[in-house]
Symmetry: C2
Subunit: 192 residues, 2 copies
DNA sequence: GCAGGATGTCTAGCGTTGCTAGAGTGTCGT
DNA sequence: ACGACACTCTAGCAACGCTAGACATCCTGC
């Protein structure tokens, strides 16, 4: 009674993840407007209703993709931070890594930070991956700064604004590196 | 042959504007997802196809709302800037006015800066209202600063990030004023 | 070994969306 | 008065997210 059920649950979990990765790949390839339940079901090689046996709806699939993305972002930022232990350089590296992440995976980034979501931010039920990503910014700041969180929120806002305005063609994408230098130079020194 | 045609064109222009304002009001009241061509047509008291005799599609209506918004934003920012002629204070005031605008008209703001658009930014065909709004930021910066444009882009990115992350509940909306103070303090002094 | 129940999947379809073709109406210039 | 034109509406298409109910498949208890 046990082994078979285990196999089934394993297969089910695999399919669960397959839905997420196929949704993400389709979104990265053709944008989220191309991710319809029909097309997604076809890629997964099941019919539409199975999607709803795994997720409450399309929004939940997008959220699942986003949460995967939070984990990857946290790892990406952490990697950048640890590569350059000097705090000032570290902040610069983390910020650059953030922008890299956003430009290289625009659809994933949208799912995480643009599309409407019911994922809780800065809250008790915040997914730990998300908190981890945010903390990478905080870790670059002097521990004795009482306003680190606020500082980190502002940096994040700036990077997010740059990422999203550049992605939608509202500011020229070329200037990103120069803007980044400017931001870090201007913000890096923690106020007394 | 003339007076009648003129009346018709006048009425048509009125209806054109009516579509835009009704779309905007409906969006402000219930969000853009509630703005369907059917509901909009009902509010305008015409059938759906007349919408398409004025606009190429729903996107074009959103764009028209956005362009109206650019004009209002420019006026709002200009008003804030002129109220406080000292440059440092002026920047602060303009930034605060920007955030005010975003929080008080969230749907309009979304049409302008979040929803996909084919309006050209930083381009020869950029609507003058949009350029005017951007220039309000530039005007707060020292004219001898060769990198004013870049500076303004960064400020705009920061404010946009704050506005949009706060609107979607990704950063706590309470801290906006404090974050604003921090940003202006940190960025206001033009680098040499 | 085999019925019976539970589990899982699919087909078919509902209501809504953006958008459009073609019919119908009314108005205008001659 | 009438033909031509400009305009608006009804009706419908394809695609959307989502779901009910039929069907098949597999495990369980006798």
């Amino acid at each position: 009674m046990s082994a078979i059920k285990e196999r089934r649950e394993r297969e089910r979990a695999q399919r669960h993840q397959l839905i997420i990765t196929e949704a993400r790949e389709l979104a990265e390839a053709e944008g989220w407007e191309a991710v319809t339940t029909r097309r997604l079901a076809e890629r997964v090689e099941y019919s539409q209703p199975v999607l709803y046996s795994h997720f409450s709806g399309k929004d939940a699939i997008v959220s699942a993709v986003a949460i995967d993305g939070f984990g990857e972002l946290a790892a990406h930022l952490r990697c950048a931070r640890l590569a350059d232990p000097e705090p000032r350089q570290a902040l610069h590296a983390v910020c650059r890594a953030y922008l890299e992440f956003a430009t290289e995976r625009p659809a994933l980034y949208q799912a995480m930070f643009v599309m409407p979501t019911d994922v809780k931010f800065a809250h008790a039920e915040t997914p730990p991956q998300l908190r981890a990503a945010f903390d990478e910014f905080v870790s670059c700041l002097r521990p004795d700064n009482a306003r680190r969180e606020l500082f980190a929120e502002v940096i994040w806002s700036t990077l997010h604004g740059m990422a999203v305005l550049s992605d939608s063609g509202r500011i020229p994408p070329d200037g990103q590196e120069e803007r980044l230098d400017f931001v870090v130079t201007q913000l890096a020194d923690t106020p007394s």
